[in-house]
Amino acid sequence: MPTNLSARFCTFVLSLFLIAFALPAFAGPFEDAVAKFANDDYSDTEEAIGVVAGSGNKLAFPIISALQDGRLMADSDSKKVYITGADGKSIDAATGEPVASVPDSASAVRLNNRLRRSVDAAIGSLTLQSPDIGTRLQAAQSVFKSHEETALEAVDGALAKETNKSVKAALGDARAAILLFKPDATEVEKLEAVATLKARGDQEALALLTGMGDQPASVTKAAASAISSIQSSLAVWSTVQNAWYGLSLGSVLLLAAIGLAITFGVMGVINMAHGEMVMIGAYTTFVVQEVIRTRYPGLFDYSLLIAVPLAFVVAGAIGVLIERSIIRFLYGRPLETLLATWGLSLVLQQAVRTMFGPTNREVGNPSWMSGAFELGQITITYNRLWILVFTLAVFAILLAMLRYTALGLEMRAVTQNRRMAASMGIATSRVDALTFGLGSGIAGIAGVALSQIDNVSPNLGQSYIIDSFMVVVFGGVGNLWGTLVGAFTLGIANKFLEPVAGAVLGKIAILVLIILFIQKRPRGLFALKGRAVEA
């Protein structure tokens, strides 16, 4: 196939060459169309795209792809259009001649959404036979999306040569989409198209089938049955999707609450500044990314891995400082603790606002946290998936730490019976400071993850503090497993309520349910039993 292609390409270039020499002074429709790019008028640009894409000229693909990437420069005075390459070299778009430099008066040809769609369609039909499988697949998909009649020939040609299974399927879908909308396609072709789309079974197929307009009766009937079958399968998938969204929301809740489960749950400190520890973690991520951006741009994908330990240390250190300077004087006085930590949260917010400004700071998503993949008919975004994995990992590590390390043992001893622990030789005040530091540090880690899905602003913490308390109280104070179950229960309940009741009512319903639940079981889902809790 490659030889065949290149041979065809050679004859094609040769014929072009001949034409170019035979008519040296003649400005053909192609050149006219190219000049239209310089008019800075959307409808002229659209016309030019159509002519250039259909011209068969070897410059068609370079021009359209340059247009897509904003590399097509046009000079509105001289009506000259240039393609600038990634290597800094430029050519004249009408002739293909290299030019020394693009004049300063030239600016990139502007696109709007309508034009971007035409560009995609044009690139699609131009790259259907590209040697690269990925490009071919993308081309087939964009032809499927635009399903313009003019692409049918190109699709048929590509389909005859295609050997890759998935590209072939995509081409088949594209062909079906075109035929469905082609007014003069036969009934048999249309019925086949409906069957192909039914087999595809996703939302895009549904969109095509519902929007196909007037068709012969048999086609309409087949389409109606295809639509109902797709809809019922999508309904099943939407339940799966809600469950996934619930898990994802639950993981965010858990991550935000897990530090509080230590400071409030284990130590009993009503820590209203917990949210600000999360915020400090997020700002640590921002600082790490800033340093990486300016000094080591190559490390950007690792920025979060670097930020996690740093955020733990920074937030943890601030936590220890807070415990030593304020909270240790307030043990056993919940009301004062609450007021003091609330005031502290305001102080921390304003401090960050003064240092970094009140506006949002940009924290980028590394490439492995951007985008999504399709699992069946649901879309799973990478950032949510990684946060779920990360949350479970943090949870497991924390659990292991409490169970298997000396510090963990001391922590549990101190919280269960302070005086007994002290008389066993445990330095209780040191353990208090470290426990509070641990809780704050984990909140800091949460901030790193939350910076990926939320605003990094001084208000970041405020939006999580209420949810965090809700989770810890609901799950049962003093029990990490309770926090885990509580977070996921609330997340899933919320996501199943949201489509029915709406986001606002859903949230209210959850709050009411929790209040009722607490009336019935004041100690939450998993209550600690025994004397310890009474102390």
Binding site: R116, A207, L234, N242, L346, T381, K495
Partner: protein, 440 residues
Amino acid sequence: MLNKSVHDIAASFSRRGVLAATAGLMLGLASISGAKAADDTIKVGVLHSLSGTMAISETTLKDTILFLIDEQNKKGGVLGKKLEAVVVDPASNWPLFAEKARELITKNKVSVVFGCWTSVSRKSVLPVFKELNNILFYPVQYEGEESERNVFYTGAAPNQQAIPAVDYLMKDEKVKRWVLAGTDYVYPRTTNKILEAYLKSKGVAQEDIMINYTPFGHSDWQTIVADIKKFGSAGKKTAVVSTINGDANVPFYKELGNQGIKAKDIPVVAFSVGEEELAGIDTKPLLGHLAAWNYFESIKSPENEKFIKAWQTYTKNPKRVTNDPMEAHVIGFDMWVKAVEKVKSTDPDKVIDALPGIEAKNLTGGTSKMLPNHHITKPVFIGEIKANGQFDVVWKTPGLVAGDAWSKELDGSKDLVGDWVGKKCGNFNTKTNKCLGSGS
């Protein structure tokens, strides 16, 4: 322990107001003692939140007024006197806005106040401005349905932003199906009511309109974005009209980008997202999504270039962006200065009467005029988000659009006009020929 702690948390929230108030009061006092008490200055009040949730948007507006005062003083001030800013911090706390407004007017004796962002803060200060008879310049696009004698609305009314944006999508993008997504408070609810009525009057069926509200600061957009995707797969071109406010925008756009909703499939046109909001996100996945405003930083005009340069020099930040509410303050400030110079007095009654008819250059090359209903004429631009966080203007209204205080789309308000020149009334019913009187 547990019951008690829950109770304590609840109690703390009612105390939050008191705490914030105390903090705000202290800041306020500091600003008073810091200002030199001089009689030969004209005092200008600045009522924007410098802390709390709204600080993200309002701090810039405080800086804008300080900048404009600085520029005016360099030109010799007004009526031969220097202007002096009195800055207070209402801390994103709505009742505190009223307290601070009262303090500005009675204690600091300001001649005019530039301030507020949210509609609820404006509604909270309204009685104070009426009672003490002072002037408020309100610079943010809002839901309309109001025309008060003491307030001058330099932001867009719905017919200067929402309606033209929908028109653009209908004509240029051939949109047939609409998602109206907003934060759950008065501005999105009223705007969506107006838009729904407008769309229906254009023949859009009920089933082609989906309305969705989310709480303030909503951060988990997965379900809603999936719903939008589903709603958009009915075979008709779909667009989202977003009145989502403030911080909730960043996660919303991130989710759109991650779920692969591109502007060329389902465009989102936003009324509350400007250059300032985009500064906090990676805009590459948002390429092509739209915003409707009366000003964009990227608009090329000599006035705008001069303004941006002076602003960046003043703030000593060459990257500092400008946005639409800033331009509204620029116009409002200029109009106030002109009105004061016209009547040679800062007396609120005289200035209020002088303001309608005053013209001021806007930054996009036109001249805006204060109308008898206390709204101004503005051009409307539709911009597409570019990869660098700026906007590329893809459409604009042929001329300036006059702001309607009362929407023509709603049954309750289509017969009303605001006219403080002839009728001396903010809600004059043209059918019954009666002024409905106070209570807006």
